[in-house]
Symmetry: C2
Subunit: 404 residues, 2 copies
Amino acid sequence: MLVVKKFGGTSVADKERIFNVARRCIEDYKKGNEVVVVLSAMGKQTDVLLDMARDINPKASKRELDMLMTTGEQVSVALMAMAMDALGVPAVSFNAFQVQMHTTAVYGNSRLKKIDTERIRTELENKKIVIITGFQGINKYDDYTTLGRGGSDTTAVALAAALHADACEIYTDVDGVYTADPRLVKDARKLSEITYDEMLDLATLGAGVLHNRSVELAKKYGVQLVVRSSLNNSEGTVVKEEVKMEKMLVSGVAVDRNVARISVIGLLDQPGVAFKLFNHLARHNINVDVILQSVGRDGTKDISFTTTADDCDEAVEIVKRHGEGSLKCQKIEVEKEVAKLSVVGAGMMSNPGVAAKMFEALYDVGINIKMISTSEIRVTVIIDDKHVEQAINSVHQKFSLGEN
Amino acid sequence: MLVVKKFGGTSVADKERIFNVARRCIEDYKKGNEVVVVLSAMGKQTDVLLDMARDINPKASKRELDMLMTTGEQVSVALMAMAMDALGVPAVSFNAFQVQMHTTAVYGNSRLKKIDTERIRTELENKKIVIITGFQGINKYDDYTTLGRGGSDTTAVALAAALHADACEIYTDVDGVYTADPRLVKDARKLSEITYDEMLDLATLGAGVLHNRSVELAKKYGVQLVVRSSLNNSEGTVVKEEVKMEKMLVSGVAVDRNVARISVIGLLDQPGVAFKLFNHLARHNINVDVILQSVGRDGTKDISFTTTADDCDEAVEIVKRHGEGSLKCQKIEVEKEVAKLSVVGAGMMSNPGVAAKMFEALYDVGINIKMISTSEIRVTVIIDDKHVEQAINSVHQKFSLGEN
């Protein structure tokens, strides 16, 4: 059996944890499995590097930032190979150049295109554990790129797909996917199984366990994922195409607090305004999430949208540059203290009452809804960040998610 | 004019120094020159990484050590590109993969074979300063290798040769090549010029300013080197084929304290013993320096040799393994507190009195000589490390090196 195991930064933050991960991988190896390990940078190393960069040049180019960042995972994989070797198991580490982890050209938020598995297979045949840098790739210019947030998950899934792995295990600091964040909701319950689509919505919406791109990729290539804890041996949550158990109305409530709302007030109410606005943002690789456009009035209209809090300042700058110029907007408003709350469930498709039930749960505790967005299996609202805890508990209870 | 400028770890140890180096390179760039910069890892970063590795696995494989170490220079070059960019000059950083810095297969102490200059030339034509990781290369397996001590000097010279650079400037924390280490000898004098051969002997013998491989390479390809200080604008020392000024008898006195002496006592006095002994060491890439073989007696003979202090333990282990086995030696003695003192000078070739004069200088201050080795332009002795300061001053004075 070929297993891809991915461990995040906290799992390799120090010597002790590195050896823990090494032992865990060796367990699998000793069962006769072929083991491929994907690692993130140690602990807060990515932040340390980012701080160094910002100190030198707050507007450092993304190309050079990626050049800097990618050293983080390389340190992790080299140390892990040394740890396994110290435990008597042959291991070899690779970076993105060595396994030709090809991505799109863009820096800072690239997408994987192709992986050369030949070298990995050779080393697996040599009975080595193969350890690969997550998060990073190389583009057509032979420059380093990085895959953006949660990029190591994507690396793991892509490797599992390319190697036709029998399992892809994502180790995190939680032991699976919960009906809600257990830090916020006391009776949150761990799900034993969840569909790709539900996980996709949970991931996109900030459940924080898996990154959406990794779930997309897993769905596309039918890679069965297991989300498990690196700290204990509990079963975890399996993410796959169909779940056996009867579908619940709602599988979970997700919160994303890394959100900012930008409102562009008084745009000319004429065709092409929204296109132009979002085209400028897209060209700068800024992901826009919930979009709300007001009904036109007095020849003008307002457009509100959310971005990640990280992208907010850049987005505002772009909107200012173009918005005040060709788009002739009157005012730009920014709210950084907002959060996104969503309920997700494949069962929703055949049950129209979910949105209303969610709004009721928020009304019960007097929370104002700022924006609403829905999909087939999801209802999302934007609320003030300070109400998050109250809101998620009320919604969790309204859908009886704590009960088995 | 195309200039290659190399800066060591202390020159890029923190933000302020990084900007100093950036400004220095930009000065050259603004004169219309094409500038290629070679950097080492920041400050003590190589030691930090090495300590991490030793903590995890004291016997870490050299392959994984190189994988770890090479992150150091990558951090330096990325930050330098950001600094130059902050100062308004376009710059781009490259690692060994990106400029295909091909080396021999061996890890930890590899040799450069070939560099692909196409990408560098393209970026220079784009009016960018090109910043390249020193010390590192890649081998035929597409693994990282490192060039051993002083490797960044070698990278700079190799790049200067490959790019047919008009100048290769090696910036260090001293402002040139001295007749002796100014920290040890008060009236040591800076040389304005020195030949490759003299520099080669001084480098090999521990003048510590330039690494011997870099000088060898410079000689082979006729790359004129300038050794300068990164801290001031003084002229430095030019290293080239022929020096104009009248050749002095001796150009300098060099000390190497990173030396250990290993004596293998009571080997069988039969053909092939020395070959076998040193063949084993060579196969483990251990450089042996001064070798002394006693005249045979009672059917046995003794062989003493020196290695770097770093290699000593490994060398002893190898000698033990083979020496006590097939070579049937009676005893192995190790002395770690020894140093190598040498006088170097192209003028020596036509003047046989130099060795005697050096021995006299040591006799004057009552210092015992443990081993002697000579070449055409060099006399080397091994002495107790505790006598180094006294010895170098006595020799420096005997040859009147402090006088112009």
